[in-house]
């Protein structure tokens, strides 16, 4: 048997703690507590094993990774291992000394998230007063440090009309890249789906707005489209167990950050096994790897090695079976579920904030 090809990226979810409470957060509903978190030595070992296995880039995320006092140390470990380090942060815990320390440790890139362009919009989503001012200050500091910065905006029904202003803000703040990401409906996002999902008209308008910015050519733009108005799924995580490995705050190793919803399978943990054993041999990682597990319509579909049947967690959440084709696919017998949600946006429920 040949070993699966090694992962390219590690998503290191250092903590689920976060000063914000975004209702679209893709963290699981069952958030992990501080007492359960891996310690610095554990993470150091995870980074070493990841580099050994073939990981090239590490994305430090959370929660809010800056809530960890060892962030700088982990960046220097990554740097020493020649891993490209990316800090995914809300920016509200960044200040000048911390940023300088991160810079000195060799941080390669920062992805700074904004909830909105207006203070009111940002507070309504993040639930933290004065967060917007702190983020703008963080962006200024990052810009001054010279660390390359991507501004990330998660868009949904409430802020989607302000995409042009998001680009204006990015230019003002000197970001080289902008990511406009439609909410992905996992974890808290799924729980709030009916309050967040934009209408088809709103989606089309947002795509036009992004295209108009792209045409200007001065910014590098990533655009993550929503699944619910599509008829072919995205290649979730580049295929199960093919490119990404995700480690949760307590050390569980997952093929994607929503995989903890999959029933009847053991979740391997870096406390019990090596990363390479887990990547190569664990039942969880082999469960949906490649194409042999696929039922119809994927099994005989010519796109099966392009989208890998879409997202397992979405199939599970919407059809009750993770092995089904992603119901976003119009060839799926369950596609009507997605269409029903996408067209049946009637009453708008209250937002439910992410809480422990």
């Amino acid at each position: 048997m040949t070993l699966p090809s090694p992962p390219m990226s590690l998503l290191a979810e250092l903590t689920h703690r976060c000063p914000l409470a975004c209702p679209y957060c893709s963290n699981p509903l069952e958030l992990e507590r501080k007492t359960a978190e891996l310690d610095t030595a554990d993470w150091r070992s995870v980074l070493e094993q990841a580099a050994e296995l073939g990981v090239l880039q590490v994305h430090f995320s959370g929660g809010e990774p800056m809530a960890r006092p060892d962030m700088v140390e982990l960046v220097s470990v990554a740097r020493r291992l020649n891993l490209y380090s990316n800090l995914i942060t809300s920016g509200v815990l960044l200040d000048e000394p911390k940023l300088e320390a991160l810079d000195r440790a060799g941080l390669d890139h920062i992805q700074l998230s904004f909830q909105d362009v207006t203070e009111a919009g940002a507070e309504r989503i993040g639930g933290l007063r004065s967060a917007q001012a702190r983020k703008i200050e963080a962006a200024r500091l990052i810009r001054a440090s010279g660390i390359p910065m991507t501004l990330n905006f998660v868009v949904h029904r409430e802020n989607i009309a302000r995409i042009p202003e998001m680009f204006t803000l990015a230019r003002e703040l000197g970001a080289g890249r902008v990511e406009i990401a439609h909410t992905q409906y996992y974890g808290w996002g799924l729980k709030n789906r009916d309050a967040l999902l934009p209408s088809r008209e709103q989606l089309e308008e947002s795509t036009r707005a992004v295209e108009a910015e792209r045409a200007k050519g001065d910014l590098s733009i990533d655009y993550v489209t929503p699944d619910y108005h599509a008829d072919r799924p995205k290649p979730c995580m580049g295929g199960w167990g093919q490119r990404f490995v995700n480690v949760t705050p307590s050390g569980r190793v997952l093929p994607c950050h929503a995989a903890e919803t999959i029933p009847d399978v053991a979740f391997p943990n870096v406390r019990d096994a090596s990363l390479s054993e887990i990547w190569n041999c664990s039942p969880l990682f082999n469960m949906f790897r490649g194409t042999n597990w696929m039922p119809e319509p994927c099994r005989s579909c010519e796109r099966k090695e392009k989208d890998w049947g879409g997202c397992r967690c979405q199939a599970l959440a919407l059809t009750g079976n993770a092995a089904n084709a992603d119901p976003v696919c119009s060839l799926s017998p369950f596609h009507d579920i997605v269409e029903g949600v996408a067209t049946g946006l009637s009453e708008k429920p209250e937002l439910l904030y992410r809480r422990f």
Partner: protein
Amino acid sequence: MTEAPHTVTEETVLSFARGYRLQHDRVRDLWIVQAPEKAFVIEGAAPHILRLLDGKRSVGDIIQQLALEFSAPREVIAKDVLALLSELTEKNVLHT
């Protein structure tokens, strides 16, 4: 951020922009350029060209050195080097 596009000539001195770097991927035995949110594989002559970028050598020096190393006609090397370096400069992977 909106720097005017540079024309790369033999006099230009280039280096990687912050956030980008050349790296040998030991596990896969490939050369890659690390970039924000992705790593891209580079093949053929590209790694040989890019490993000579040090912010000191001019493009002309690089062409000269490769012509020697590969005992190839200078014009042929120059064409490949200028094409690659112009493309990467346009994409802001390299800068002066």
